[in-house]
């Protein structure tokens, strides 16, 4: 099966008379596999939106190629545009039309004339049904965001690009949107998601790419990056403190009376830690572990420049 999205060595340089040349994306390659949710993470200005704009052909890449289901966005955009649904980071406001009209026209642009059933379904599913006769400016920020999602889905795209879809969306709604995204995935849609909520990426994405200053610094399994870039914290309550020598890679984070906290590499098992410290099991009263999160991994990559 062809990859829904294949980005090969893509570069983008913006040139403007005032600012000169800005290298927004500096040679990025990755692909999205059929039916997966791929997270594109990175701090502000990293180049995420620029990448998405190039996939939708809003911007042309300065170099490199992007393929959507095997077809180049440069040479066969008529095909690739039809496969893609995009939720832009910035809300599109429309002054003249209500939600139903907006969705009808948008369906029409994709060649779907009578799309009432799908539009009704999306309006209901996204909680916009009561608001369907309103103008965009009469919606709240979260509703506008959901309208953008509905718009992206009217033509049943096979590749969905979500640029910070949950920005400004309340907590309850966010979880329901996650569920919606998972349902879309079950329908077979492949999804590219950018977000600043790392729990969101951790919860939804099988694989993530981390982009920093225009370069992809990590690309792979979400769990893999957490394992590689974070450490496990192990907290023990002991009857008494034995004499120990710390095994390779283990750090003692703190000790308060008989409670000690260690930091260990993620791949070291608890058994190996106990054995390494030579703590007999009858000394051990209680033990808690805490795994690293994607957030820690992300900060390690982006702030401390950890490499893999």
């Amino acid at each position: 099966m062809t990859a829904p999205l294949e980005v090969s060595n893509v570069k983008k340089t913006y040139t403007s008379p005032k600012l000169g040349a800005v290298d927004a994306v500096k040679g990025v390659s990755f692909e999205i596999r059929p039916g997966e949710i791929y997270g594109l993470l990175g701090p502000n200005g990293a180049g995420k939106t620029t990448l998405i704009s190039m996939i939708t052909t809003l911007e042309n890449p300065s170099e490199g190629d992007i393929k959507v289901f095997g077809e180049s966005t440069q040479t066969n955009s008529a095909f690739t545009k039809k496969q893609i649904g995009v939720v832009p980071q910035e809300i599109v406001t429309q002054g003249f039309f209500n939600l139903v009209e907006i969705l009808q026209f948008h369906s029409g642009y994709y060649g779907v004339w009578n799309n009432k059933e799908r539009i009704d379904y999306l309006l209901k599913r996204l909680g916009l049904w009561e608001h369907k006769h309103k103008l965009v400016k009469q919606l709240s920020g979260g509703m506008k965001r959901r309208l953008m999602i509905a718009k992206a889905l009217v033509h049943k795209p096979k590749l969905l690009l979500l640029d910070e879809p949950t920005a400004g969306v309340d907590l309850e709604l966010r979880t329901s949107l996650w569920e919606f995204v998972r349902d879309l995935q079950k329908e077979g849609i492949s999804i590219l998601l950018t977000t600043h909520y790392l729990q969101e990426a951790e919860a939804l994405c099988e694989r993530v790419g981390i982009i920093s200053k225009g370069s992809l610094v990590f690309n792979g399994e979400t769990q893999g990056i957490i394992r590689k870039l974070t450490r496990r914290t192990v907290e023990m309550d002991l009857k008494s403190i034995p004499n120990w020598t710390l095994p390779e890679g283990v750090q003692l984070l703190g000790q308060r009376e008989n409670r000690v906290t260690f930091s260990t590499p993620s791949e070291m098992s608890v058994g190996a830690l106990l054995a390494g410290l030579s703590i007999p099991s009858d000394l051990l009263l209680d033990l808690k572990t805490r795994e690293g999160s994607l957030e820690e991994a992300f900060l390690n990559v982006v702030q401390k420049g950890a490499s893999l």
Binding site: A78, K81, V92, F96, F105, S107, G108, Y110
Partner: protein
């Protein structure tokens, strides 16, 4: 085809939502021109091209309304989309540049046509009151020809100007400092035969002259310009502005302001 029809429909629906601004106001202003110049002054102004002044004025004002409103329709639609971000949508959806140009050009023409028709009806009523009888129609083919070419050319001009414009002011400038003077000097109010030979020559450089005289010929059968020449130049305009629009869409950017 459905994509094209949807955009065409949207463009029409857009100006219908603001009917007062897009149809009623221009129609009222045409009616006022007819009343003040045609009906009140008409009897004191000498006949132009051998026809009564009120009759002379009607096709001129029709074409003026058509061209202006066609220009306004596509340019304000694009400028609006630049503010709202809809222009980005237009780039992302699978509509070809040809579809965009033709859909927006035709919708612009429709708005111009409505204004022109209202002007014609109001003018005919005034004419019937003043002179008794119908102003007449010389050639239906020519009527359709000049309405279609005029509407499309100015729709496409509006589209291109709005794409290239860096701000709303720039667009207003095109309309106020180029379009408006050309319209007034293009033979709406007087035949260029009233001018000295030098200014007659200068006037022939004004492209609007050909549309205005073409429509006058279609309705009254009189014109400052041979009809074949008007038709040829309108057709050339069509080709030229189509290419210009294609260029605007290719080169211009779809980003927000």
């Amino acid at each position: 085809m459905i994509g094209f029809l949807s955009l065409f429909h949207r463009e029409i629906a857009r100006f219908l939502k603001v009917l007062v601004q897009t149809i009623v106001t221009p129609a009222v202003s045409s009616a006022l021109y007819l009343l003040v110049f045609g009906v009140s002054l008409g009897s004191t102004v000498q006949s132009q091209n051998g026809v009564d002044y009120l009759a002379f004025l009607i096709p001129g004002l029709m074409m003026m309304g058509l061209l202006n409103n066609a220009f306004q329709n596509s340019s304000s639609s694009i400028v609006n989309s630049k503010y709202t971000g809809e222009l980005e949508d237009l780039r992302v959806v699978p509509l070809s540049h040809h579809q965009i140009i033709i859909a927006m050009g035709l919708a612009a023409m429709v708005r111009g046509l409505v204004v022109a028709l209202v002007t014609f009806v109001v003018g005919s009523v005034f004419y019937a009151i003043v002179h008794g009888g119908f102003i007449g129609l010389h050639s239906v083919f020519e009527l359709i020809y000049f309405i279609v070419t005029g509407g499309l050319v100015f729709g496409m001009l509006g589209l291109s100007a709005a794409f290239y414009a860096k701000s709303f002011d720039q667009l207003s400038a095109v309309s106020a400092f180029i379009l408006l003077p050309l319209t007034y000097l293009g033979g709406v109010f007087i035949s260029i035969q009233n001018l000295s030979p030098f200014w007659q020559k200068v006037s022939t450089l004004n492209p609007l002259l050909y549309f205005i005289n073409g429509l006058r010929h279609a309705i009254l059968g009189v014109s400052d310009i041979p009809i074949g020449q008007s038709m040829l130049i309108s057709a050339l305009g069509l080709v030229m502005f189509y290419v210009l629009s294609l260029f605007a869409l290719k080169r211009g950017n779809f980003h927000r302001w």
